[in-house]
Subunit: 109 residues, 4 copies
């Protein structure tokens, strides 16, 4: 199974997708939604890209390295935004994003 | 975390997405690809729908039940096609699909 | 070309996807983001589902009717939320959603 | 409307997504499916990436340039594979892919 090589990356991407989508939902429920606008935007970007890359890896796409490079950049941007906010969902999301950014950079190399 | 209610469903969907995408890839490498044409088609349908539903659950979508109902039907169709083929990837995929179809039916109820 | 039967539906879905994604972006830039929270959430739901259905139709998916039924419901929910807001992007989005909901209901029948 | 800058790219991406998904469907119905295996694989890659980029542009994603760079590469690979086959759906798909690759390269620059 070719995609087994990427089993750990798949798992990290999945955690990041869940964390970002949960953060998206939780940000929309916060008192100060305006402060979270950039977080909401980047959560969606990051969740969608992680989900896309998961699928690409699973189907043994010939473009995993190139997609992982972009995914790393998106994860890092989302993680940097989330880090600014004290909400637990943001802090957890930042952690998942940074872990995923590193895994994606390795896959892109 | 609202999406924690669906944690087991998320995991079953993820396994099904991976099994279907792996089966898609493996079918395209088989000697007799023509025999696998319907399997290839349904693997993509099922992988994409499982992936979509994973994202929807993670973002606390208000439409999880309706999407899960359609996903159950797609999983069942894919599982029934895979069951016809002796390849290990098809048999494993059929199993993942049937398990996922049941989990989706429960989430749709 | 089997998917030509659905050429008008494809076009309506595409306009709705664009309108919802534009509304998502514009809502995040509004002064009162909190008031737009439900609109932001439903814009994403609707844009993603319209995009998914476009792809499904284009690949001649066997599940277009079932997906169109769910898409109609999501479009209607998004259109009803958008209608409440005076912003031009919301009003335009509401219109696109209602048109798309009707086209999807026809495709689902 | 920020995404209006990209209106032509959106239209080219949409045509490419439709051509690739139609080619995917038509290849699965050909007599010699085995010969079309790589075409089927790349049609899916290309359709999915074009669809992803359409959504990203519509929501004013900050990552359009990076995604367009990868999309250009995928379109080119798919176009080169399709060019090898005489089927009308492959020839039309090759043309749509090459046009889209160029538009994506411009957007990435």
């Amino acid at each position: 199974m070719p995609h087994k090589q990427h089993q750990e990356l798949l798992s990290v991407l999945h955690e990041c997708m869940e964390a970002c989508n949960h953060c998206f939902d939780a940000c929309l429920k916060e008192e100060d939604v305006k402060m979270m606008a950039e977080c909401i935007r980047l959560d969606r970007e990051c969740a969608d890209m992680c989900s896309y890359l998961e699928s690409a890896i699973s189907r043994n796409s010939p473009f995993v390295a190139q997609l992982a490079k972009v995914c790393a950049e998106i994860c890092e941007a989302c993680g940097n935004e989330c880090k600014k906010h004290d909400h637990e969902h943001c802090q957890k999301c930042a952690e998942a994003c940074m872990k995923c950014a590193e895994a994606c950079r390795n896959a892109a190399a």
